[in-house]
């Protein structure tokens, strides 16, 4: 056994100092490579939103100059922004990736799922997602979830075991120590992996800026026809809006998160560059979900309940 003395250094003064983004990037890359080394059929959940775009960027860096050894899986609610779908298809073509699409519309058409009274399709994603995982025999599924997003996620593991129903039981999760991730699972079970667990919204944006990552244009300020529902600016569209009582107006807006057109609200903003977006977020007094996501406002325990069902 070797003997060394560990001298502590003041990070800021050391030639070996790493910025927080470097430290987070190194950790995320380590997670991608662990999965590549330990699983047979990993897949990246890719929505075309900023978190999944950052995940893909990290995966590209982790395996360069070789291609990413994972496919992509998109759960398409049928209510996606066209700009986001276009971005998705460009990314797939550019990096020569394989894309699997699990479509909510398909399940509705086949009578497996029923449209909800409120028209929200986010809650309907779980069934197609689990079907896509099962039919393709994916054993590790990368998600862009971050532990800073919501209280129930604060306890999520980097490697999160799901049973054959995709369910998450907070009491059954394995302790995670050091950087030793345990990916063992039985046939039929799979592991959700969250490489961005320790990132915050601001970290993600700063990283996008530093790396010069292209995003769908709806993340930046643009003029758009919107109407107000439940205190949010929603985009008019075939998904079910506006109703007769709802007034459409043209406003300068941008999106802080990109989910479904039916439940993702735009915020008034003139931030049309990455610098302006970061300044706006750093000064913002609302968390991203609180400002823009209707589905998380359902109840204090909404996220916890949906995770148990197999949602992210």
């Amino acid at each position: 056994m070797t003997v060394t003395t560990q001298r502590l250094v003041q990070a800021e003064d050391s030639p070996y100092a790493l910025s927080h983004l470097d430290a987070l990037e190194a950790e995320s890359v380590h997670i991608f490579r662990e999965v590549a080394g330990e699983f047979e059929r990993p897949v990246i959940l890719f929505s075309g939103g900023k978190d999944s775009i950052v995940m893909l960027h990290l995966a590209l860096k982790a395996f360069a100059p070789a291609p990413v050894p994972f496919a992509l899986l998109h759960v398409d609610t049928g209510h996606n922004f066209p700009e986001v779908l276009a971005y998705r298809d460009r990314a797939v073509a550019k990096h020569n990736l394989r894309l699997h699409v699990a479509s909510v519309q398909d399940f509705i058409d086949r009578g497996v799922l029923r449209e909800r009274a409120d028209g929200l399709r986010n809650p309907l994603q779980t069934v197609p997602l689990l079907d896509g995982i099962e039919s393709n025999k994916f054993d590790a599924v990368f998600g862009g979830g971050r532990r800073d997003e919501e209280k129930a996620r604060a306890k999520e593991r980097v490697f999160s075991l799901r049973d054959e129903f995709g369910a998450w039981d907070p009491r059954r999760q394995r302790p995670e120590l050091w950087s030793l991730y345990n990916g063992r699972h039985a046939v039929g079970e799979h592991v959700r992996v969250f490489p961005l667990s320790n990132w915050t919204e601001l970290d993600v944006w700063q990283y996008i800026e530093r790396e010069g990552i292209e995003l769908p244009e709806i993340y930046y300020a643009h003029r758009r026809e919107v109407f107000k529902r439940d205190g949010m600016w929603l985009t008019a569209g075939e998904w079910g809006g506006p109703k007769e009582t709802e007034q459409v107006e043209t406003r300068l807006v941008r999106y802080r998160t990109v989910g479904d057109m039916s439940c993702t609200g735009a915020v008034d903003s003139d931030a049309d560059t990455i610098e302006a977006v970061i300044t706006e977020i750093a000064a913002s007094r609302l968390t991203e979900r609180g400002a823009t996501r209707a589905d998380d406002k359902m109840s204090e325990a909404a996220m916890e309940d949906r995770k148990r069902e197999g949602y992210f």
């Binding site: 250094v9 291609p67 050091w178 039985a186 320790n198």
Partner: protein
């Protein structure tokens, strides 16, 4: 430099909190988040709403952190939760661990990645059994910095002698465990004294507030003072026209510095070679250091795969006989004779529990021999025999290459956390075979 660039030039500190059930830990964490402006309007609004619904006058900051429904109903914290906040100077990741006796394993988990531990005590009670246990876990996990936060100073009239007595007793105990760096801060999480803002009620205290200390404590270790350790995670072989003969070993430096041209040994095979090239995520570089993730190419064509360790001198000697201090994490006891899997860095091997030499009483640090098994939350010293050799460092030298976990091969459950080598200096041994509560 633009403001956003300045923001990206901050460092990252991972720290853990531990406190007994009623020490006010949730309030402290809530206060840190609230006073560092990390709580946003909608979160605070939810807390104010929930507090009013419960008939509380002031917003209960503890509600900011109690995440799961079971906890909200029981008013306790049942697992490690991770919190995120930032100041202009630093980004923080907080492993928030419950302090109750049955959750030793959670503090071990939270402390495993922490560079600093905050141990919380109630000024009215001083150093109690649980405080000593928290100090022992921090020492066992080799957390470099320990902060004693003496809370509820408002309930002891902000009296300096009360604080001084507790700080002295704790510091002496921590020193006996080998913890050299203890900083004590008198606080009131409820009133906000010395958490983020300096206290007007304690002029006698001249030190930093808790947050100031967190912002300025050194992060990490000096990689140039440690031998390089590079566990191979994955072999990158593009097999394309352009990169026909490219063979890179992808991994994260566990410690030390690697430069192009450095002589290295590949373990467990023992082959020696030199570093031919380093790719920092697609860009060539001359130098890399822990904890960077890079890809290393070697001068000689050696058979290397996931699980091998690329090491600079002095390299560890691979062994199949592992002696380690462990904390058992699972409800199922760990018995002598158990066949398990052992995951060390990127290598997973079969292992046999040959011997449980002794249990450590975490309250008295006494060694108790004669234990047949380890129960959940037990800390003990074991001898393992592995099917293949492992290149382990002592945990006291290297937290990443000295640590491992034991896994149940039947269902993949993580059973036990292990640290190669001896723990802190424990004291006299008593024979436990007479006692009732052993497995």
């Amino acid at each position: 430099m633009s403001t956003t660039q300045e923001a990206t030039a901050t460092s990252l500190l991972r720290f853990a909190t531990a406190g007994s059930v009623d020490d006010g830990k949730s309030t402290l964490v809530g206060r840190l988040l609230h006073d560092s402006k990390s709580v946003l309007a909608d979160q605070l609004e939810a807390v104010e709403h929930a507090s009013r619904r419960r008939g509380q006058e002031a917003p209960d900051l503890a509600l900011l952190t109690d995440g799961l429904r079971a906890e909200r109903e029981q008013g306790i914290t049942i697992d490690v939760a991770y919190r995120y906040f930032a100041t202009a100077r630093r980004r923080f990741i907080l492993a928030d661990t419950p302090g109750h006796v049955q959750y030793t394993r959670n503090m071990v988990t939270g402390a495993s990645t922490a560079e600093l531990a905050v141990v919380l005590v109630d000024a009215r009670n001083g150093v109690v059994e649980q405080t000593r246990r928290h100090a022992a876990v921090a020492a066992l996990l080799r957390v470099p910095h320990v902060v004693l936060a003496v809370n509820k100073m408002d309930l002891v009239a902000y009296a300096e002698p009360v604080f001084a007595r507790i700080a002295e007793e704790f510091t002496a105990y921590a020193a006996s465990l080998g913890v050299k760096d203890v900083v004590a801060v008198p606080i009131s999480a409820l009133a906000g004294d010395n958490v983020v803002e300096p206290s007007a009620n304690m002029d006698w205290y001249g030190g930093p507030t808790l947050l100031e200390h967190l912002e300025t404590v050194p992060v990490g270790t000096d990689p140039s003072a440690e031998p390089a350790r590079f566990p191979v995670q994955y072999v990158i072989r593009p097999q394309s026209e352009e990169f026909h003969d490219y063979r890179g070993y992808a991994g994260q430096l566990a410690s030390g510095v690697l430069r192009v041209g450095d002589p290295v040994t590949v373990l467990p095979s023992g082959h020696t070679t030199t570093v031919a090239a380093i790719d920092a995520l697609g860009e060539p570089t001359e130098i890399a250091w822990a904890p960077q993730s890079v890809t290393v190419r070697l001068a000689d064509d050696i058979d290397i795969s996931r699980g091998d360790l690329i090491a600079a001198a002095p390299a560890p000697v691979p062994t199949k006989d592992v002696r380690a201090t462990v904390c058992h994490l699972n409800e199922r006891p760990l018995h002598v004779g158990a066949k398990v899997l052992l995951k060390h860095t990127t290598r997973t091997v079969r292992a046999l529990v040959k011997e449980i030499e002794y249990r450590i009483d975490i309250d008295t640090l006494e060694r108790r021999s004669g234990a047949e098994g380890l129960n959940v939350n037990d800390i003990g010293h074991v001898v393992l025999r592995t099917a293949e050799p492992l290149a382990l460092d002592d945990y006291t030298d290297n937290r990443r290459t000295g640590s491992f976990v034991l896994i149940d091969p039947s269902d993949g459950t993580t059973l036990t956390a292990g640290m190669a080598g001896e723990a802190f200096d424990t004291v006299s041994t008593t024979d436990a075979s007479q006692e009732e509560d052993w497995v």
